[in-house]
Amino acid sequence: MKVTRQFDLVLKIGITILTLLTVAMIYLYMQVDKVLASTRQEMIEMIINRYEMELKNASAMVVENTRPSLIERLSDSKGLRRDLQRSLSYFKTPEVEHLFVIYRDERGRLRYLLDGEREIEHQAMFMQRFEPVSDIWERTYETGKTQLYKHMKNGSLWVSIAIPIFENGRVAAVLGGDLSASIRTDVERKFTQIKSMMFTVAVIIALMLVFGYFQIYYYFKGRSKSFVDPLTGAYNRKFLYEVIANANYAEYQIIMYDVDHFKRVNDTFGHEVGDEVLKMLTQRIRKMLRKEDHLVRFGGEEFIVFLHTVNKKEATEVAERLKKSIETSPFVIGKNILSITISVGINNDAKEAHNIDDAIEVADEQLYCAKNAGRNRVCVNGVVVS
């Protein structure tokens, strides 16, 4: 079945393309997801870096105003503390939730020196104990480097930044800044929006692909049905002209047959019996053909077998076998027993024809030859062979 194989091929190509598109979409979605995740991480790092730089400016401001000794000057001057706290408060934004300076006393306890909080009731007092929830403050003292801590269980805080304040080459205090969890929420919200948008696009494309699958499936299913004669199950003229005509029909031997005196069957037994004869006839003929041969109902009681062979002798043998089989096995339809015969014409030189119509015409001429010879005959090249 070369022709149907071509159909299968087209169907397979269509499904393969859609499958590749689906796989590509999934891959693309995963890649975009990865890129989004890394972009989100980069964005978070960028935000933290930006605030870190701002807090470094604040720490420089503290250093500048408390030379030569930060602790002594702050302990001695309440006014300086007040001024510096006011200056620190200018560095506060909705994102920088807390901004303060702490130091480690001789007993190793951390205490507030300055607090940028504007509301007095929330402002830490000078030398008030600072309760750490991470070790970044100690590490800042030990390493002399800025440290970060991401709060996991704290509802309002996101990241704490500890910046060392140096005095005579050693860490004298630490400037601390707490970034609000609202930054993280904002970032998450933006990325959630992008992700949900991506997801929506992916779903739409997925739906389109599914739709595509159905389209291909139903197109080929419908197309296959449209090639079949509903009464007999043989192929119809549409198949002949759309499929066989476009294939290399020269590879086939064309055997055309016609039910002898079919009008008489209809007139005597009725059209229902006539239809049943055609159905049974088609079933019998198909059983005697191979997969690569095609049986086409050309019209009324006229059928064409496209025998896939270049062997002329084989075509004649098959035609004789078909004729003999029909002739020797009566058709039992209900209570009626009908003796049916067929006349057969063969075109065993289809490659000489200009087109399918020409090839069929030659077979048709041979069919007339058989009929004219008294019916129930096989005729090829104008010669009655049986």
Binding site: H98, G155, R189, Q193
Partner: protein, 143 residues
């Protein structure tokens, strides 16, 4: 719809974080109170929120009269001014109150999103109270 989801998520986060904070509050108050060498744990407070937290702690009796209490817990807004109760040790949830009031033996409060416990060593001694060894780290020399 998307906005609604975001608001719902924010609301749940806030609820979750406030529940978490209240749970930490309950645990810390429980720890501080039972680590004080009180003979009985009869507590007087007029702060509703604190009452809600303390009533969930087994072993604590909330009293309605401060004179019957062995410990008073006050807040900035609910300072107990009854003169008959001046000699009863007090805890508070405010550092400034702790510094100002000589009867305050300690405080537990949230400062910059961090739970903070401070106990006054000299004041505890004045009331003849001791604290568990694990709370000693929170002792401060606040006169």
């Amino acid at each position: 719809m998307k906005k609604l989801m975001i608001w719902l998520w924010l609301l749940l986060s806030v609820l979750y974080s406030s529940n978490l904070e209240s749970e930490i509050d309950r645990k810390i108050w429980k720890r501080i109170i039972f680590d004080l060498s009180l003979k009985e744990y009869r507590i007087y407070t007029i702060d509703r929120q604190l009452q809600d937290i303390l009533c969930k702690i087994p072993g604590i009796t909330l009293v309605k009269d401060c004179t019957q209490a062995t410990l008073i817990i006050e807040t900035r807004k609910t300072v107990v001014t009854d003169e008959r109760c001046l000699e009863i040790p007090r805890l508070s949830n405010d550092y400034r109150l702790l510094v100002k009031n000589a009867n305050e033996i300690g405080a537990f409060f949230w400062m910059k999103g961090r739970p903070t416990i401070i106990l006054s060593k000299p004041r505890l001694e004045r009331f003849g109270l001791k604290v568990d060894i694990e709370l000693e780290d929170y002792l401060e020399d606040i006169e």
